[in-house]
């Protein structure tokens, strides 16, 4: 009886720690079988990662913001704004060196993030409203700048960031890996990371513990802003277009990936590794269903169900705990 109980609690432990990971593994196995191994082809796996890289980077940023108890809805618009301006600067006759183009895109993202962050952290405005405003405003700016038309035709070297390969792995995937590692260190190993959890876990206690709640909040939004700039670049370079209406709805995919990975929407709880698994689940799902020739309409339904199921699973685990 005792050993049985012990076994049961060990199984629970594994489920608690790796539950969502097991879901990913099972999904991969099922899709591999159904697709006669086409899913597991090296090229396809690389493809999954490439597809995942864009929302993946945003999901990492969203994780930090959600843990502080905030939300950023403006990422799609901000990345479009950064994208069109970068695209314009990268046209073949442009005198700007590439480094300046990249830096500008990141700075535009940072600036938008700083506006969000300042209003939320220092003026005390609700994140939902502030970033909702930024969603519309940044989209308007992108459309205005691009005169409503996509900007096409860049220098070849610019496209490298979206289409190039290094050691057989696409550049966007390298960027995703780099950002994941940096963010993982920030969140789980630094003082700042502890403070991010503290602010979301109990804002009053954070303040009473000597933590500058405002600066922590400000940081997560400008960090997200910078990531938007990077994603804007990647997306423009990959599609060969600076589209003013790019990125719409990406904020929800980013939040979904974080939430599937166990990040709490009410703050104080989350993990970068979880978010990575979350983005892979979404990526594998859409890639797998594509391979199996399932219509995108049905894909959307399945995606919706997966998001809700993942959160339910998390709630059940927390309750059992």
């Amino acid at each position: 009886m005792k050993t049985l109980q012990k076994k049961k609690s060990a199984v629970n432990k594994i489920l608690n720690a790796y539950g969502i990971f097991l879901v990913l593994v099972i999904m991969c196995i099922v899709i591999s079988i159904l697709s006669d191994g086409r899913f597991l082809a090296y090229r396809n796996i690389v493809n999954v990662f490439r597809q995942v890289s864009i929302t993946g980077i945003l999901a990492i940023g969203a994780t930090l913001i959600l843990i502080t108890g905030g939300i950023d809805l403006s990422v799609g618009s901000v990345l479009a704004l950064a994208g069109v301006i970068a695209a314009d600067m990268a046209h073949p006759e442009s005198a700007f060196p590439l480094a300046v183009v990249f830096l500008t895109a990141v700075l535009i993202g940072l600036a938008a993030g700083a506006v969000n962050g300042a209003l939320i952290a220092y003026a005390g405005a609700p994140p939902f409203i502030v970033t909702l405003g930024m969603t519309t405003a940044a989209r308007g700016m992108a459309l205005l700048y691009a005169k409503g038309q996509p900007i096409v035709d860049f220098k070849k070297s610019f496209n490298f960031i979206g289409q190039g390969n290094l050691l057989g792995i696409p550049v966007p995937v390298w960027i995703l890996i780099f950002i994941t590692i940096v963010s993982g260190i920030i969140l789980h190993s630094t003082k700042l990371g502890r403070y991010i959890f503290a602010v979301g876990g109990n804002e009053d206690a954070a303040r009473a513990s000597g933590i500058s709640v405002k600066n922590v909040k400000f940081f997560v939004y400008i960090y997200m802003g910078a990531l938007c700039g990077i994603v804007g670049l990647i997306l423009a370079a990959r599609t060969n277009t600076g589209a003013p209406n790019a990125g719409a709805g990406y904020e929800l995919d980013a939040i979904a990936a974080a939430v599937i990975g166990g990040t709490s929407i009410s703050g104080g709880k989350g993990h970068i590794a979880g978010t990575v698994i979350g983005m892979l689940i979404l990526g594998v799902l859409s890639n797998g269903l594509d391979i199996l020739n399932i219509s995108t309409y049905i894909q959307q339904i399945v995606k919706g169900i997966v998001i809700v199921l993942a959160v339910l699973m998390d709630i059940v685990q927390t309750k059992r705990d």
Partner: protein
């Protein structure tokens, strides 16, 4: 035994097991009509588990509940309410932006064809208040405008309106002033005379003997004893609760106090105080007495940089401090353990070690990266020193008992190596064993030459542990007493 009053509620042989622990082991409880029955025991004795079973939040593994002669099965809290069992929680859960009347009748609106009859609603509320002798609360104001004590009375009225004949009160006096306690007791007496049975949980001894008719004692999930209150006294009760003799709770040797450690001069803080000055000496335990709402907590928050000051100086060892926020205060060697540990002290979802080190990470890092081994060591040592009971320092703080949570808060501030500790209600809602440990700790800190300020609403405690007591009334210092000058009467006079 023949003509005993009708037993209102009998809980017999109640057993409840959680993974790894037997929280209740064949516990007995008998509540008679029109009596106040105190449920006593240290934290972790099983009081709240037993009450949760009665409210239908947990199901017992064994045992039987008989309500008014009928065996019942209480599946959930809704069913408990229907059967006439209500609970006034320690932390009240009002709906702040609805009126008092709405809060009371939320689940039973006087309505005609679905339309709420406002006039009937208010009339019924006022009748109810008259019946219970509740004064000074309007049925129309928003709940958020009431004081803690008033909200509690509304909760009691709500229970009565739900026709409850068993009312559980969990630490009802933990957040209200002495004057309000008297008011509460009057209402409890009214309820008693109406035949309501009241299960009363509290850690305050004097209160128990004042209000209760019977006392049942639990210890480590075991039923220990049950007796009429007049057959017991404080000593006997403590012995039953802890299972050993506690010589004296306050075992204090007055410490030798040294030169001035901290001086607050002409502190001005909008809405709190106009001109407050006081001194704290090295090695001194300075008690702050005052009614709830007198401004003791707020004054300390102003000193600690949690509130904006409009004027005044804070001087430590002759040096004027520039405290603009909590960080500054910590860096100057101040620490403040808040009265509301759940709100201002703890991150319940995070681990013990996380909570202990959060204010001292500056010293546990190298270029921003936290030194995990150092963190584990510091947290581990402190949790051993303070005897925080848990399986590991990775345990979530939310899982700990009140006493252990309080120790985590203290550990966090001890880690910052403060010279001055401000402890606001350090023993609120924790059991007598943990209280004793905290008193010992305070004494030890004073002996090490630190200055300790203690705010407490429990007069015997404050008198028992302080070298000097300052009384605060309506945001102003009234008096300062040392040695034999410290008497309950004198302090009460100042607070009046």
């Amino acid at each position: 035994m023949t003509m005993m009053e009708e037993k209102l509620l009998v809980m017999h042989g109640i057993t409840k097991e959680f993974p790894g622990v037997r929280a209740l082991d064949h516990v007995e409880l008998q509540l008679e009509k029109g009596t106040v029955h105190a449920l006593m025991g240290e934290n972790g004795a099983g009081k709240s588990t037993l009450m949760k079973i009665l409210m239908g939040i947990y199901q017992p593994d064994e045992g039987e509940i008989t309500l008014k002669g009928q065996t019942v099965k209480i599946d959930n809290p809704k069913k408990a309410l229907k059967m006439g069992i209500s609970m006034i929680h320690q932390e009240l859960m009002p709906i702040p932006d609805m009126s008092v009347a709405d809060n009371i009748f939320l689940y039973d609106y006087p309505a005609k064809k679905g339309f709420v009859q406002k006039s009937v609603l208010y009339k019924k509320t006022e009748e109810l208040f008259r019946e219970l002798g509740i004064e000074g609360v309007s049925s129309r104001v928003f709940m958020k405008e009431l004081s803690q004590a008033q909200m509690q009375m509304v909760e009691i009225a709500k229970a009565v309106s739900a026709k409850a004949d068993v009312i559980i009160m969990d630490e009802p006096t933990s957040a209200i002033s002495d004057h309000e306690v008297e008011n509460l007791f009057r209402i409890i007496c009214t309820l008693r005379s109406k035949g309501v049975g009241i299960l009363y949980i509290s850690h305050k001894m004097d209160e128990i003997f004042k209000i209760s008719d019977y006392i049942t004692v639990l210890r480590d999930g075991q039923y220990i004893d049950s007796a009429p209150s007049d057959k017991l006294n404080q000593e006997k009760l403590v012995r039953l609760m802890v299972g050993r003799e506690l010589k004296s709770i306050y075992d204090r040797h007055p410490s030798v106090t040294g030169e001035v450690m901290l001086e607050v001069k002409h502190l001005k803080c909008k809405g709190v105080c106009e001109d407050v000055s006081f001194k704290l000496h090295k090695g001194e335990v300075l008690g702050f007495a005052g009614l709830v709402g007198a401004g003791r907590t707020e004054i300390m928050e102003a000193v600690f940089g949690m509130r904006k000051r409009q004027g005044g100086d804070i001087i430590k060892e002759g040096k004027k401090l520039k405290i603009c926020n909590v960080r500054d205060a910590i860096d100057y060697g101040l620490a403040l353990a808040s009265e509301d540990r759940k709100k201002f002290g703890l991150f319940l979802e995070l681990s013990i070690s996380y909570n202990i080190t959060i204010s001292w990470l500056k010293h546990l890092q190298k270029s921003g990266i936290v030194n995990r081994r150092g963190e584990r060591e510091k947290a581990g040592n402190l949790s051993k020193d303070l005897q925080i009971k848990s399986s590991s320092i990775k345990t979530r703080v939310g899982k700990l008992s009140g006493g252990n949570q309080q120790k985590v808060v203290l550990a966090k501030w001890l880690l910052t190596e403060p010279d001055i500790l401000i402890l606001d209600e350090p023993t609120r809602g924790i059991d007598i064993g943990a209280k004793k440990e905290i008193y010992t700790l305070i004494e030890q800190l004073a002996r090490e030459g630190k200055g300790v300020i203690v705010i407490s609403s429990e007069m015997p405690e404050l008198i028992g542990i302080s070298d000097r007591i300052i009384t605060v009334h309506e945001g102003a210092v009234k008096g300062s007493y040392t040695g034999t000058e410290i008497t309950q009467e004198r302090i009460m006079m100042d607070l009046g």
